[in-house]
Structure formats: C-alpha cells, structure tokens
C-alpha cells in the first residue's frame, strides 16, 4: 500500500498557524478518515507525525507562513487529502460556528 499513498503540500496561512483551536480543527477532521494521515512541517524540516494526534501536530510548531506536507494512505485517501488540504488552505475555519462539535 506504501506506493499508493497520496502526498500533497500546502501553505498554512491562518494567523495562529497550527496552534490550539486550528490544530484541534485539523486533528478532528483528520480523525474522521479511515486513512492513515501523516503530516510534517516542511519549513522546519520536521519528522512526520500522525495528523490524528493533537500533541504531534502541536509539536510540529507550525506558524503562519509555514508549509506542511500531508501523506495519506488508505481507502479514502483521495478524499482525505483533498479535504484536509482545502481545510488548511481555507484557514481552518476558526469562526466558532465552523468548528464541528465546538458549539455544543
């Protein structure tokens, strides 16, 4: 399955990078897919971590202007890669209404 993975790079533009709330939005979205999603901070040359780990994602230290890579492997990998890349490019919808489950 390794050769079947989908890889994509995307610039992080929302002001707080992948911190706190945006990181939580990203991890929640990644966790919704069956595929294994690995993410790395291209700008700092970090190691890959699971995109389903809030601690891993926070630990990448992704600030505004950094570029991240996504590597997705699994059944729904195309959908996952596209959805996550769009989410990051769109600023990770920090407006509270756009955060799934945050309005309970």
């Amino acid at each position: 399955m390794g050769e079947m993975s989908t890889a994509i790079e995307v610039d992080v533009r929302n002001p707080s990078g992948l911190h706190a709330r945006p990181a939580a939005v990203f991890v929640k979205a990644a966790s919704g897919f069956r595929a294994d999603v690995r993410v790395a901070n291209v700008t700092t040359g970090s190691a890959e971590v699971s995109a389903k780990s809030i601690l891993g994602v926070l630990g990448l230290g992704v600030s505004a202007g950094h570029r991240i890579s996504l590597r997705v492997e699994g059944d729904d990998e195309d959908d996952a890669a596209r959805t996550l890349a769009d989410l990051v490019a769109g600023g990770l919808g920090e407006a509270p209404a756009a955060v799934p489950g945050d309005d309970a």
């Binding site: 002001p15 911190h19 709330r21 780990s53 630990g59 509270p96």
Partner: protein
C-alpha cells in the same frame, strides 16, 4: 500574619485552608490506561460545557483541547509501550508512567520557540496528572468543607471542577489578575487574590508551627481570611481581624441579596443621578448573559472575533449579520460597536502587516487606516447596514485615536462609507453615533479639541493605564504596580471629562476599572457619565452607586486626584464604601 498580593476577584472569604494536592486515601484504581484516558476526556468535555454556560469561551476551548489530548493516539501509544512491562497490580507505577509520558510531551512543546505553543505545555501536564489520578484511583484531596484554596498555581481544570460551594476563595502564589484561574474565579463569583509572594512557604511554616503546638488530635487546617478587594490573605487572623472580616462579609452578603433585588433598575446614585450601567461583550452570543444581569445596553462590543483566526477578511454581509444580531438582542438600548482593534501583535495574513518591535506603540486600531482604509470602511458600511436591518441607531467607536487628524480621518471614513451605500441604493441607518476610545495620553490631554468632532468618548482604562504609566499590561512582573487607580491615570481621566464637558458629550469608561467597585466610585466622582463592564460586575456596581451620593463621590474623587499613590486612592475609596449598608453608622 497578613500576606499581600493582587486583587483578582472581589469578595471576602473566611475559612479553612485547602492545599491543592493528592488525597491521602484512595478510591478504586483503574489500571487500564486507555479506559482512564477516555474517562479523563469525558470529564474535560463536561468541564468545557460547564464553563461555556457561564460565558467563558476561552476556558471552554482549553478544556476541549485537553479532552482531545487525553485520548491522543501518540500519547496513548507511548504510554502503552511504557506500561507494557508493568502489571495491572501496580496502579501507582502505571500512573507514574502515564504522567512521565505526558511530561515528556509537555517538554517537547515547552521547547518550541513559539510562546503560545510553549504555554500549552501546562495543559498537557495537567491532562497527564488527570489520567494518572484516575489510573491510580487517587483524587485531588477535595476540601471536606467549604475552604480557601492555597496553591502555587491552580490549573483551570481543577478550578472549574471543584464542586460548587466547596471553594470559598482562591489564593495563589503565582498567576495574575488576567490568568485563567482568576477569570474563572470571577465567573464563579468567588474572591481571589493572586501573585502572593512567599505564600506556599508561609503556609508550610504556619502549618508546621500549628502542628508542633497542638499535639493532640489530627492537625486542624489553618484558618484564613481572604479579601479579594484589598488583595490580602490573613493567616490565623486575630480575634479583632476576624471580627472585621466577618462584618465585611456579612455586609457583602446583605449587599449581594439587595443587589439582586435592584436588577432591572437603572444605575443611579443615592441622590438620583443616573449612571447608565452597560456590559462589555465579545460576540452576539454574550447578549443573554448581559441582559440577565440587567445591562442597560452595550458599552463595548469587541469585534475582533470576526477578524482573527482566518485567512481572509470577513465579508460585509457576515459582519452585518453579527452586528444586527447584537443590536436586535438589545432592542433599542444603545450598543457601542468598536471598530476592529488589530495591530502588529495579531498578524492577520490578509492585512500583510509587517512585524513591529513595539506593536502596542505601532500601527494598530484606527492607525491601520493610515495605510489602507478598506478594512475599516467596510466595517463602517456593515454597521450602518446593520442599523437599518435591526431598526436601531448604531453607535460606533474607533480605538487607538491619538490626534485630531485621526478624528478627521474617522469622520472622512464614515462619510465616505455612508455616501457609498447611498450611491448603491443600499438601506442604512439614518444616523450613526460616532465616538472614540480615549486610551492614549495625547487623546486625554487634547480631549477638548477631539470632542468638537465626535459624539462621545469611551475611556479604555486598561490601555490608558499602560500608556500613562509606561507599563506593559501583559508583563506579569509589573502587574502589581500597573494600577489603574494611580493618581496619574485618574488625572488623565479628569482631563478627558473636562474636555468633554466643554462640548457636552458623554464620557463612558469601558475598561476593567469600571467594574471594580472602588474604581466605579472614583470614576463617577470624576464626572464619568456611564460605566461598561463584564456582566458579572453589574450587580455590585449598581448596588454601591445606590448607597452613595454624588457629593460623596465628588469628595472621594478630589481626594483621589490629590493622592500620591494608588494605595492611597484605594484606601480612601474603601473607607467610603465600607460604610454599613442602608443604615447610618452608630
């Protein structure tokens, strides 16, 4: 022994000390790390709901994130690897392993160059402690009777979790009045004093001494008296000191009941001078809480929530919806919408602001328009349209106004925005009430000149204090001296009131000082017309105003203006407000 710190939440508490530490006994261990993590996550989600219900969205976001951390696959995998060699028979070793894994994760975050991320390290450690407690069947030694919490720092999750009624007050060695523990204490309505240097060592010594003195029976917790306005903690107070504290507490209790009865009545001094009391809100959803507390309107609607944390500017339509929602919620009562207060410290990708060495002295607030008026012009258009949609007269105010040229520019932007709506045939409010924040010393000193072109002033006491005293309000080491009741700040406020008087425009205060009972008294004495504050402070300020006359407040203000120190001002204000409620002194 009396220890001194910073007042962080008002009120008086008398009760036994409760030290934040593990209980001696233990409950049933849960030697399954995965199950313990799930339980921790559920507890944290419940806490998020609880604080969201009292309007604390920031803390709710922390607990939501912590709930996610608790079941983090990386954390759980590392923990699983470490506990594999430990049998379920040794829950303490399991707990220690879990805590170590969380500590290591926290260290990784703490080592990141980004301060915001580094600050999350404490949240991770707190999550680790929670899972470890569940695994080991240990609990925080909950107070067995209503107590005053003593700690170096209290994680927000612990503060929010203590059963209602068990916490009489909070005294911390660390923290600041703007720390989460302090904000939560205010939200929960319990007194708090923070930044008490030497607190933990002093309590340790006092406990040891008490234990050595009384040899019979189990050691009794120390008796404490906490004064959330004076910022003092009395350890084993003398009989006299105790009597004084009890009298004040009793008086506050009556005052609290009486204050609730005053809800729904407008703010007014004992001699009948109206002082409208308004609420500060951060988003339209805060309206119900403000209305419940009897707010007579909104003196500060912060609009930054629309602008931060996104990759492009909010659309005009999106803004219209938010402003109209707030205007409608307050049906006809004034709502002051503040134009976005954004600067180099909040880099918004769509504004392309270069980083600045001194963002608090940089291009922020209305100064954004020096380079590009587009963002603010759109906001003014949205406010005018929202007025039409909600059938209300919106008030707008500009932050960070420092010169007459700024006011002229604001007027141009407003005129231009309205003209553009008219040219497009878009419905708008017939009129906008246009005011400015007075938070920069130059604006206070030139208030008379600025007053000629605006409809009202609103003093931002937090920033005014920072700029008058040249003390960064985010610097914890200056928190003890950066007091908004410093005579220099009060003289700047007086200059603002004098400048406004010449033109007959009203002056409001919308900083923390307005919701501090001592501050509110001094401000009204200085001639401030309206006070806007967190909704939780309205009852108390309404009550205190109803008990004093304008003449008394004017005398207090005169004393305050002559004072040499903030402490002298606080003493004078306390003396006036400490008078027994409703009855003449005997």
């Amino acid at each position: 022994m009396e220890l001194r710190g910073l007042p962080a939440a008002p009120g008086v508490a008398i009760g036994p000390a409760w030290r934040y530490r593990h209980a001696a006994g233990r409950g049933i261990p849960l030697p399954d790390v995965r199950a313990a993590a799930d339980r921790a996550s559920e507890e944290l989600l419940a806490l998020a709901d609880r604080v969201r219900a009292i309007g604390r969205h920031d803390e709710a976001a922390i607990f939501d994130a912590q709930a996610m951390m608790a079941v983090d696959p990386m954390l759980l995998d590392e923990a699983a690897a470490r506990v594999a060699a430990i049998g379920p028979a040794d829950p303490d070793a399991l707990a220690a392993a879990v805590e170590a894994v969380a500590r290591a994760a926290a260290e990784r975050l703490a080592s990141l160059p980004d301060e915001i991320l580094a600050a999350r390290a404490a949240d991770v450690r707190d999550v680790g402690s929670r899972i470890a407690r569940i695994v080991a069947g240990r609990e925080i030694a909950l107070p067995d009777r209503p107590s005053i919490a003593i700690a170096d720092d209290l994680p927000p999750s612990v503060t929010a979790e203590l059963p209602p009624g068990s916490l009489l007050g909070v005294a911390l060695e660390g923290g600041s009045p703007v720390s989460h523990a302090a904000i939560l204490a205010r939200g929960l309505g319990i007194p708090a004093v923070v930044a008490i240097h030497g607190l933990v060592a002093a309590l340790d010594a006092a406990e040891a001494a008490a234990e050595a003195a009384g040899e019979d029976g189990p050691p009794q917790p120390l008796l404490l008296g906490l004064d959330g306005e004076a910022g003092t903690l009395s350890v084993s107070p003398s009989r006299d000191a105790l009597a004084r504290l009890e009298a004040r507490r009793e008086q506050r209790r009556h005052a609290g009941a009486a204050a609730r009865e005053l809800r729904g009545r407008p703010g007014m001094t004992a001699d009948g001078q109206a002082v409208p009391l308004l609420a500060n809100i951060g988003r339209p959803e805060d309206a119900p809480r403000a209305l419940d507390a009897g707010a007579e309107g909104v003196g500060l609607f912060r609009t930054e929530f629309l602008f931060i944390g996104r990759s492009d500017a909010p659309s005009e339509d999106e803004q219209v919806a938010a402003y109209a929602a707030a205007l409608r919620a307050f049906g006809g009562r004034p709502v002051v919408i503040r134009l976005a207060d954004i600067g180099g410290d909040k880099a918004l990708p769509y504004l392309h602001l270069p980083p600045e060495d001194n963002p608090f002295l940089g291009v922020r607030g209305l100064r954004l328009c020096y380079e590009d008026r587009g963002l603010i012009r759109t906001q003014v258009r949205a406010i005018a349209r929202a007025g039409a949609e909600a059938d209300a007269v919106p008030h707008l105010m500009a932050p960070m106004v420092s010169t007459h040229e700024d006011v002229v520019m604001l007027r141009e932007i407003v005129a231009d925005a309205l003209a553009s709506l008219d040219a497009e045939g878009v419905a708008r409010a017939a009129r906008l009430v246009v005011g400015i924040m007075v938070e920069v010393p130059s604006a206070a000193l030139c208030a008379a000149e600025l007053a000629t072109d605006v409809d009202f002033f609103s003093i931002g006491s937090n920033d005014l204090t920072q700029y008058v005293l040249a003390m960064d309000r985010t610097n914890a080491r200056l928190a003890a001296v950066a007091d908004a009741l410093h005579p220099a700040v009060l003289r700047a406020i007086r200059a603002t009131v004098d400048g406004a008087d010449g033109r007959g425009i009203p002056v409001a205060v919308c900083g923390e000082l307005a919701g501090d009972p001592l501050g509110a008294a001094v401000l009204v004495g200085l001639g401030v017309d309206e006070l806007s504050m967190d909704a939780g402070a309205l009852d108390e300020v309404r009550m205190l105003l109803s008990r004093v006359t304008t003449a008394e407040l004017r005398d207090l203000a005169a004393t305050a203006l002559r004072a040499r120190t903030a402490a002298e001002v606080r003493a004078a204000a306390s003396a006036l407000l400490a008078r027994p409620a409703g009855v003449p002194a005997d």
